[in-house]
Symmetry: D3
Subunit: 140 residues, 6 copies
Amino acid sequence: MFDLMRTAVIRKEHFNAAHRLYNPAWSDQENDRVFGKCNNPNYHGHNYELLVKLTGKTDPETGYVFDMKRLSDIIKDEVIEPFDHRNLNEDVPEFQSLNPTAENIAMIIWRKLRDRIDPDYDLKITLYETERNIVEYPAE
Amino acid sequence: MFDLMRTAVIRKEHFNAAHRLYNPAWSDQENDRVFGKCNNPNYHGHNYELLVKLTGKTDPETGYVFDMKRLSDIIKDEVIEPFDHRNLNEDVPEFQSLNPTAENIAMIIWRKLRDRIDPDYDLKITLYETERNIVEYPAE
Amino acid sequence: MFDLMRTAVIRKEHFNAAHRLYNPAWSDQENDRVFGKCNNPNYHGHNYELLVKLTGKTDPETGYVFDMKRLSDIIKDEVIEPFDHRNLNEDVPEFQSLNPTAENIAMIIWRKLRDRIDPDYDLKITLYETERNIVEYPAE
Amino acid sequence: MFDLMRTAVIRKEHFNAAHRLYNPAWSDQENDRVFGKCNNPNYHGHNYELLVKLTGKTDPETGYVFDMKRLSDIIKDEVIEPFDHRNLNEDVPEFQSLNPTAENIAMIIWRKLRDRIDPDYDLKITLYETERNIVEYPAE
Amino acid sequence: MFDLMRTAVIRKEHFNAAHRLYNPAWSDQENDRVFGKCNNPNYHGHNYELLVKLTGKTDPETGYVFDMKRLSDIIKDEVIEPFDHRNLNEDVPEFQSLNPTAENIAMIIWRKLRDRIDPDYDLKITLYETERNIVEYPAE
Amino acid sequence: MFDLMRTAVIRKEHFNAAHRLYNPAWSDQENDRVFGKCNNPNYHGHNYELLVKLTGKTDPETGYVFDMKRLSDIIKDEVIEPFDHRNLNEDVPEFQSLNPTAENIAMIIWRKLRDRIDPDYDLKITLYETERNIVEYPAE
């Protein structure tokens, strides 16, 4: 019966990016009130730490839930290559009309990876914007 | 359908405090047997690392689940101000008659924050007493 | 009603070990294709970080879910003593016929500890093979 | 004789900023060749971790080399306030004509703090641009 | 000529303790002004992280500068056993008349270890009172 | 005058390897007495964290002491490629007749990199065998 339990594997990657938080439907004053210094029009930036968690069954032939080298390659393809050393607002199409908060970045990463990972696996994203501000999507 | 999934945000804070573990209903020998060196009557102390996790919906206007600056302010108000650089047993009313184990500290923090956070949000506390002893309340 | 919620305690320990990934039913080429440099016949090794999580009720007499000193002793007995500074493939009976992937190591640790921990407690293992490759068993 | 030995105190702070590396005297091609993706004209960003080390004598009255609260306030004044959540190239006067490499950021921080710290103290800056790229100024 | 260069080995240990900063020669007001919340008469506490660095020659027979197991045992003897889970002001003789600032704790640890380590080795102490307040003795 | 001060840049890389400590000139008993469980003939292993520090002058044209991408490439060439996922005793020529202690591994890495780095730069290696056992070569 033990063998029926599912196992999760987690891969950690990182990227560095600039961003700015603001809502174009609001006045400057309202943006300043809600987003404070995160609303700097010249941008600021972060070292984002990304954890991607896949939950599934361990393959008895390999002892793997998922090949971590392949998972790392998919993350590099879908996230690191398009996001790393970029301005999320200016350079990343998904944030042209979506505020690049940590919550929204995690959700976009989830959608991009969901398309590449077999639906038999559960997928969960944890994103560290700083050591003290962390987001999980979806929440457990 | 993706948009219906809930998101969690986590804020990390810390405080330094002294404490002593003991049960006043027991003999000194029984306290020593159960709590060992944690029962030193002159106290010892820790750098506590605190993670506060709120689970809710991302507001489409802000891209936030909860304003992390406001969450940090609430934690400072309810936990850091009354606990930091204090003796938990002597200076904190909640532990006058409750043993300040990591389990009980996490539970008290949860109760104090639960009163300040809208019930639409799930609330979970993770408390690191040391890098090697960690408590979660409530458990998932 | 708050008191009915369960609490989790987590103890962190570590061990250093050598291992090699391969499937004896496969050709060398197939092993190389699937396991890459992890298939080095002379072994490689890791500093494994182990988190053991027990979920249960806080005892009102002690304020403990489980005595962390006792949990640490059980982990030392069942995991650190037999695994630390060993070759998992050569020195550890459980991996004589089981590939010592992080998934399988976590599962074996779970089984060994499950026999020593009262079934009233839920048990979960998190194993860091490196800072970037992490496994959870069972998955939540 | 032991008492004559000097002691160092180190304070850790952090700031988040956007930057771009380029040399205006060079062609775009030359900037791309030397700075690669760090030359993105739309900027990228980092969570900078800053260590400020002062070496001096321990005051026998206080047991302090330097009041760490006062050191933290000076760093906040000179570094965190003007650099945090800013675009170093656009918002910080010192980098109007100086490339904001980690080396130059550390040097500028040193100069700003050197003016505020009594010359009896040696001053050294360590700056983490990422966990893997670190600069010390001056080198020991 | 390469072989003539000296090598350093560093051992990391930790202890948890309570302390209070104050100068008995001063008024309460003066103690509050200088030490702030660190002057709480009921004590507060820390998880101290201790790095002990020995610099010497690598022994060609063993490849060791110093047996790290023996270094760990000496540190446990001289520092962990007398300091861990103690009140530094109340329980540790060296701080009966010496303010237990991080600077003074590092200096006392240095003196205690200096007596146990062959003078051919240079000895240096690094003490983390928190992740953000660090002391080195002697300074390089 | 400030401009004359030298600056250090540090690059962090890691590798995973198996090793065994023993001296072939000694009896098994003597090897066991000196190296304890590190003498396991079937090997054990570690996640080694490597810091490579170069000290030199900041180039006013680039703002760099040394191109960190080029430093990373040299480290990959000389250390990661030949050491990662290897058995140091069996697979790495330098340790055929040299005990792969952390001290000796750091010294070998220093020699390999010294040949590749312009002598105008000072070179220093810091190697973490575990989080608690660290070596520096040469010592400052």
